[in-house]
């Protein structure tokens, strides 16, 4: 199979074969990361810009390492408040970077759909590093990669996503990814944080975490933003963690070999108790190191795809 896409914008639009191709490519990239000299010349001469409108240490660092291991020329561009105040539009900013020779733009933006605007108007390849509440494909792909590595096969697994699904791009991308690869997906959280009509994509909705954990293979915890309390979706973080926090006791309801994932950074004592975070089940650090391999695969595939030939 040949990867035909010029951009990777989200998992909704990828086919299951395309997802598998990215994961398989990531396997070889992981092998590169385990060598003494962690570098291949795949993107030599290609300029990749990391255009991050939102602060994000780990995703940006992970992309940057991935780009460097592929020998790309890397430019990190983090527009500050002042350039927004100066009134430059997103498109103008991106066009400037393209004029400097960028052929791949990795974009992180607080507003849903921003990468689609660039994909429509620019000639560069666009890789979405997270847009608003919409999609976060590199995170979901590394989650799929990690689960596949541990469980061998995704089809038939039961996954539960816990927390603020409404405001989570990680949740949306993972829902698409796991469903496309044949897993059963559940979501659980307070009803104020479950998006309208989500069950229409074949997701089971729960409001009780204990019901939701029953017999699952994978628990994916979402990060809770503190401002949700201010916007009236939650009475307090304390109450949230009582009803939706993951404890060792609750985890016993899941399958014995359950794995617990979290996109980070963790609010210890809110989404999950410290003991669970440190528990053997946790593959959180695995997720981080796999992130580099998956991002290498994404960049390599878009840069060498039919769309760019």
């Amino acid at each position: 199979m040949v990867f035909e896409r010029k951009h990777i914008l989200g998992l909704e639009e990828l086919s299951s074969d395309e997802i598998r191709l990215i994961l398989d490519t990531a396997e070889s990239m992981k092998e590169v990361s385990e060598r003494d000299v962690k570098k291949v010349p795949a993107l030599k001469g290609v300029t990749v810009v990391n255009l991050f409108f939102e602060p994000s240490t780990r995703t940006r660092a992970s992309f940057e390492i991935a780009e460097k291991r592929l020998s790309a020329d890397v430019l990190n561009f983090t527009p500050t408040e002042s350039s927004v105040v100066k009134g430059e539009t997103l498109l103008d900013t991106a066009r400037n970077l393209e004029a400097m020779g960028a052929s791949v733009i990795v974009i992180r933006h607080a507003m849903s759909g921003a990468p689609w605007l660039l994909a429509r108007e620019l000639s560069s390849s666009i890789v979405n590093a997270g847009d608003g509440f919409h999609e976060h494909p590199s995170q979901a792909l590394l989650d799929l990669f990690t689960v596949r590595e541990v469980k061998k096969e995704i089809s038939g697994l039961k996954i539960v996503i816990v927390g603020d699904v409404s405001h989570s791009r990680v949740a949306r991308s993972n829902i698409w990814g796991f469903i496309k690869l044949g897993a059963e997906v559940r979501v659980v959280g307070p009803p104020t944080m479950i998006p309208r009509d989500i069950e229409k994509v074949d997701v089971r909705v729960y409001y009780d975490i204990e019901d939701a954990l029953e017999g699952v293979d994978v628990v994916m915890m979402l990060r809770l933003q503190k401002e949700r309390q201010e916007s009236g979706l939650l009475p307090s973080l304390r109450e949230y963690s009582r009803f939706y926090g993951l404890t060792r006791e609750r985890l016993r309801l899941a399958k014995e070999d359950v794995i617990v994932m979290h996109p980070g950074p963790i609010n210890r004592g809110v989404e999950l108790s410290s003991e669970v975070a440190d528990d053997v089940h946790s593959v959180i650090l695995n997720q981080v190191s796999n992130g580099i391999a998956v991002r290498m695969a994404m960049l390599y595939l878009v840069a060498s795809s039919g769309g760019n030939a």
Binding site: E12, M111, S112, L117
Partner: protein
């Protein structure tokens, strides 16, 4: 100017006319329906239009447009907005007060009317703001705006959230016989929303505006209309629940009318699937069920009129992140062909459609227009309902090219628009 419109299918719902009939215009008025035209045709001072096979109807009246002047002339001016109206078959437009400065006092009203007289090519009827600065707090000088020429009051786009203020506005407006136009939106429920709340907003990760934000306010304003016995007009109905509330209110004899826009009866919220900001509008384009309910409402007469909510914006303003793009669709120049689809689909007869574009809106603003009665102002439109057209936003007279219908193949072409006996389209 004297005009003889020969042999067209004359459709005038105000007189229940729908037949082939010739129309003669002189001194800006509908002069006669001549039987023999030979004598008139010999007169070289008379412009003869052969309308055979075409529809001749009263000029359309759009009860909901944003002309943007004063203050936002980069989006539209009274001149360009009127030209767009003429191109769309509209001979009268009712313009909303959310300009800068807001039309909340007689001097702004006078400015708009002066500009309209000198630069506009169609009749312009301003709507005054309900409250000073559209802030929802203190009543504007409604009486003086009425004297200056306002024909309704509304805080369109910024609903009056304080129910007591709205109650007093409705009571007060009664003294001048002004209808109160409600942009029904509970700002707490819609807060931060940029599109319809539902499956599509969930998929796109965009903040939704629930149907309830409209319905809560429609229910409130119907209740207040009942209390104050004032004529309430609900702008741009977008939800099935609002149609249901209107149906119930009308049955009980509450003095309430309503409008629907072409985008709300043509599109569903899937129109924004690719983050197309040209389909970003407030109230948002909703689900298929809502769209069907609006069509039913039009069919049953619960929705009295079709209005465009013409809201022009520049391309630069729309070519941004979806969250940042302004709400609004440039609607004047696509209204007729989109509305004709209702006839094609059997929702309305041609006569009913024309009634909703002419006589009904005229009744709401108590205008003597919207009719071809002898002696009435000669506001006339001639169109070919069967001519296939392709929507091309580059050809819009409006400065606003923001349409989700670009490239659509539709039927219905405006051939002539006549205002007060003068041909204003084509120019």
């Amino acid at each position: 100017m004297k005009i003889l419109v020969k042999g067209g299918q004359l459709v005038d719902p105000s007189q229940e006319i729908n037949e082939i009939r010739t129309l003669y215009i002189e001194d800006g008025k509908i002069k006669s329906y001549p039987r023999g035209t030979k004598e008139l045709e010999k007169d070289p001072s008379i412009k003869v239009i052969d309308a055979s096979g075409k529809i001749v109807s009263p000029g359309f009246i759009d009860l909901h447009v944003h002309l943007r002047e004063p203050g936002f002339e980069h989006k539209e001016t009274i001149r360009t907005g009127c030209m767009a109206a003429a191109a769309g078959g509209f001979t009268s437009v009712v313009c909303m007060p959310n300009t800068n400065p807001v039309n909340d006092n007689a001097s702004v009203t006078e400015y708009i009317l002066l500009k309209a007289r000198t630069e506009g090519v169609v009749n312009v009827f301003p709507v005054g703001a309900i409250t000073k600065g559209q802030k929802g707090e203190e009543l504007s000088e409604i009486g003086e705006m009425w004297e200056a020429g306002c024909i309704a009051i509304s805080d369109d786009g910024r609903p009056v959230m304080n129910s007591r203020v709205m109650r007093h506005a409705m009571e007060y407006a009664k003294a001048f016989g002004l209808p109160v136009i409600s942009h029904a939106e509970d700002l707490y429920l819609s807060s931060g929303g940029v599109m319809n709340e539902g499956f599509t907003s969930t998929m796109l990760g965009l903040r939704g505006i629930p149907n309830a934000s409209e319905e809560v306010m429609v229910a409130r304003d119907i209740t207040l209309a009942e209390l104050t016995k004032t004529h309430l007009h609900i702008a741009h109905v977008s939800t099935a629940g609002a149609v249901r509330l209107m149906r119930e209110a009308k049955k009980r004899g509450v003095k309430v009318t309503a409008e629907a826009t072409p985008h709300h009866f043509t599109l569903t919220d899937k129109a924004v699937l690719s983050y197309d900001t040209n389909a970003k509008v407030n109230p948002p384009i909703r689900s298929k069920e809502d769209m069907e309910a609006i069509k039913e409402g039009l069919n049953e007469g619960i929705i009295d009129i079709i209005a465009t909510d013409h809201a022009p914006h520049t391309e630069d303003e729309k070519k941004v992140e979806f969250d940042l793009a302004p709400f609004g669709i440039s609607g004047l120049e696509t209204a007729l062909p989109l509305a004709l689809k209702l006839v094609e689909d059997g929702i309305l007869t041609l006569t009913e459609l024309i009634r909703k574009l002419t006589f009904n809106p005229a009744q709401i603003i108590k205008s003597d227009r919207g009719t071809l009665k002898l002696g009435a102002p000669a506001d006339v439109v001639i169109f070919d309902p069967n001519k296939t057209i392709k929507v091309d936003r580059e050809k819009f007279r409006s400065k606003g090219k923001n349409t989700p219908f670009h490239g659509w193949q539709l039927s219905g072409q405006i051939l002539y628009t006549v205002v007060g006996g003068h041909i204003v389209f084509p120019t």
